[in-house]
């Protein structure tokens, strides 16, 4: 990948196919390239070589705005640090992707989604007024509200305590199951990985072949 400090080789020779509706855990030690791979899958970053195809489209062929529209129509992303927009209330945060997609009932659906994650009483609050667990639930609601084909989650429980983390994970798996979306989950946790259909291990930017073979 290209960076401000020049070209850095993070991922090498990765060939991976994920089926529609499948849930896949990306695991591996810190620095192994799991989050980078997820970012490439989400079109949030570009690979210097190779290609990423999603729903039959080569993401490398799409411009910045086409990528944005592709995410709008097909993807939901959840981050470790929630990444809510601080100047918007919970409701507005969740409604934003629906609005971008041109849904006239964006706010009604956003409110329903917040109720779904148990935050019906917090719709008017700003992120700074909520706990970490609540913020991640808002982020989750935001990701699933447009009913995406793919759900990308980057260590969604990494900043949360055990109990809250489990709640969030239950919620995530439940929402994925109900919407039938493809889930790609970056995690350090073996327990979480075990809840997915498949685990893909990375080491030094390469697929861990031993594990891959064992799986086959």
């Amino acid at each position: 990948m290209d960076s401000n400090a020049g070209r850095v080789d993070i991922l090498h020779g990765i060939s991976l196919e994920i089926a529609k509706g499948e849930s896949v855990a990306l695991t591996g030690p810190s620095g192994s390239g799991k989050s980078s791979l997820l970012m490439l899958m989400g079109g949030l970053d570009r690979a210097s070589a190779g290609s990423v195809k999603a729903l039959g489209r080569n993401l490398g062929d799409l411009g910045e705005d086409e990528l944005a529209r592709f995410r709008r129509d097909h993807m939901g992303v959840v981050f470790q640090s929630f990444h809510l927009i601080p100047t918007m209330t919970a409701l507005e945060n969740v409604a934003t992707p629906l609005e971008l997609a041109g849904h006239s009932d964006a706010f009604d659906r956003a409110e329903a989604e917040l109720k779904e994650v148990g935050l019906g009483h917090r719709v008017g609050h700003y992120p700074s007024q909520m706990s970490g667990g609540e913020q991640q639930r808002v982020a989750l609601a935001r990701a699933v509200a447009p009913k995406p084909d793919m759900l990308l989650a980057d260590e969604p429980t990494g900043n949360l305590d055990g109990v809250t983390g489990t709640q969030i994970m239950d919620l995530l798996m439940d929402l994925q199951a109900r919407n039938g979306a493809t889930l790609i989950l970056v995690t350090h946790s073996n327990d979480l990985a075990a809840r997915c259909d498949r685990e893909v291990r990375l080491r030094d930017g390469r697929l861990d072949e031993a594990l891959a073979e064992a799986a086959e």
Binding site: S35, M39, G42, A68, R71, R72, T87, T96, L100, D154
Partner: protein, 837 residues
Amino acid sequence: MNVALRIARRELRGGLKGFRVFLACLALGVSAIAAVGSVRTSIEEGLAREGAVILGGDAEMSFTYRFASDDERAFMDSVAAAVSETVDFRSMVVVDRDPVERGLTQVRGVDAAWPLYGNVGLNPPMPIDAALETRALPGAVMAPILMDRLALQVGDTFRLGTQDFELRAALIDEPDGAAGGFGLGPRTVVTLDGLASSGLLEPGTLFESQYRMALPVGADLTAVQVEALAFEATGARWRDSRNGAPGIAEFVDRIGAFLVLVGLAGLAVGGVGVSSAVRAYLDGKVPTIATLKTIGATGRTIFAAYFTQIGALTVLGSSLGLILGASAPIAFGPLIEAQLPVPVAIGVYARPLAEAALYGVLTALVFALWPLARTERIRAAALFRETGTRARNWPRWPYLLVIVGLLLALVGAAIAFSGIPMLALATAGGMLGALVLLALAAWAIRGAAKRLASLAKGRTALRTALGAVGGPGSEAGSVVLSLGLGLAVLAAVGQIDTNLRNAIQRDLPDVAPSYFFVDIQPDQLQSFLDRMNGDTQVSRVETAPMLRGILTQINGIRAADVAGDHWVIQGDRGVTYMAGPPPAEEIVAGTWWPDDYAGPPLVAFAAEEAGEIGIGIGDRITVNVLGRDIEAEIAALREVSFENAGIGFILTMNASALAGAPHTHIATVYAEPEAEAQILRDVAQDAPNITAIRVRDALDQVAEALRSIASATSYAALATLITGFVVLIGAAAAGERGRVFEAAILKTLGASRGTILRSFALRASLLGGAAGLVAIATGAVAGWAVMTFVMDTTYRFEPISAIAIVVGGVLATLVAGLAFAWRPLSERPARVLRARE
């Protein structure tokens, strides 16, 4: 070393990166004030140093309407080493060609001793004696602007009254030209002998004679002045080189003080920038402060540490400003000197720099103390909590008291230094009011944006823009305050300027006469009236006998001791006489004298001015006319209007009181514009001694003077606006990190760059527009106040300049906001978001 000092030193080691806006705001504000103050002092110093040259002598005695009497001349000859006699009056230059050309001029008749000091600059260069000597005709020199206007060349002949003169040179530099203030016409200089047969110095003509004295070396100016005081009662006026050009000195002083006040507005805008810079810096220091608290630092130590840092930066910023402000006048010295009719002693002066430094330090403290005082309230727990790290509560009351005290000191300093306390107080009040209004507006805009954000469903760009304006961490406060105050100053200047120009150029000429005619001799009056009354295009002619007199005593006491420095007793005033009463509605109090009244002198005084001086019916005033004292009782108070440029006299006496005093008449003629030229030709033909003043030309000259004041003010206001723009850039830069983050999330959610850019543009326009609207409201109030209370005329809202202000505000915020939009738009979301993990 004290712990706080050591902490401060370590913190400052990191460099000044976060303080660029702080330093720029302070340096700009201080430099503007220092520069204006330095120029003002340079002019005053120049006037003081060159006082004798500007005045044309060490001392001057002058008389209205007459030359000095033998006694007076004898006194001057006894005290002075040399005396120069000159005479000054308005007249018409007539050039005999087809068509005949005429131009208004301020004539100066000089004797051989003129000028006592300094040199007359002529083109082609020659001694003034040679230029004025009588050959076939007496010689003359003339201001180039009048030569151009009349297409006169050196060697041409022209006429003043009934005397022909030969033009020998262009008058480039008249050493004592500034002493008299601003004349209505360009200068023509001839000899007194040359004027003798011009018919222009007949008894009753409006002229002033001046006697410049060169005193022997070591003469005591004050002692001579005391002796000369004996002649005050007969109408002699005294001036000396200690204040050679009192009119100009006062003008420079007033304008300088006014511009310093405008500069203070700039400093207030800078204060907003100082405040937000300090706030942003301290917000970033919350973890440091919390850590310091965790390891045992007291609130006082922390306050001291950060106060020391801000103090050091204040000294640095003010010093930069002083260096800039002191060097600007030196750099632009030749330009400044070329623009002014007086000598300028450009240099570095301590007083204006000290004044600017004081303003700078006080402003920085007033605006920095608030956020500084809040550091005390940051708790160690802030380290462990994600939210609520920003100290948003009020400082403790002792700090509030100190802030109020500093604010009072700032206003007090402005009042003391400006020398125009009412204006300084009004300006301070206006700025404080504007700041409060802008703060309220910012608060209201945030509230409204928050509410509207929920109504803007489906319009993502608009809703995110409204969210950014109304939500936490909004830039509304600093943007509206900084830009709004700058625009408010500009709006006020625009409203006042346009209103004044319109009052002069559009409203006044509708009711003002076409011409003033002065110096109509009594035996010329009838034929003059016949000519005007016989012209169907002349709608109205008014004439009045005109003398000039000085109000010397009120009820036997020196007038200045009763009336202070009221304008009526400053110099000579027009005096007229009437037999019968004016229209009844003009008489406010008392009774008019009968037509045939021949008793002791009676006078009707202008009602408004009598009230201001504090005199009324039955009081006795002494007026010196042509060296003769006339004591008269006030019999009536009369309503006199000066607004329509018609005839208005402060003093109207009964006819017999002035019988025997030689005098002339003045006339106002109201005519159709197309008839004006023929009227001028006919009057000049019949009576060459009569001077015509075209009212429109005179008004143009007043408008020109106002225009230069307005443009000087605009420059000072521009400094305010530049400071505002720096603050704006600072706010935009400070918000860049937030916008980069926001853009990354929006892109992740599927927003195109166009949507994001629209959102950025919208929020900038919203804030800029709001700042502009508040600025217009403030400017309109200021404009109304100045027109109503200072100019005593009606105010009308001027939409053009107002619209320009709003558009300017929107553009400024757009430029500042979009200049910092590139990074948010170009960064890949993954980079931004992962950096925050």
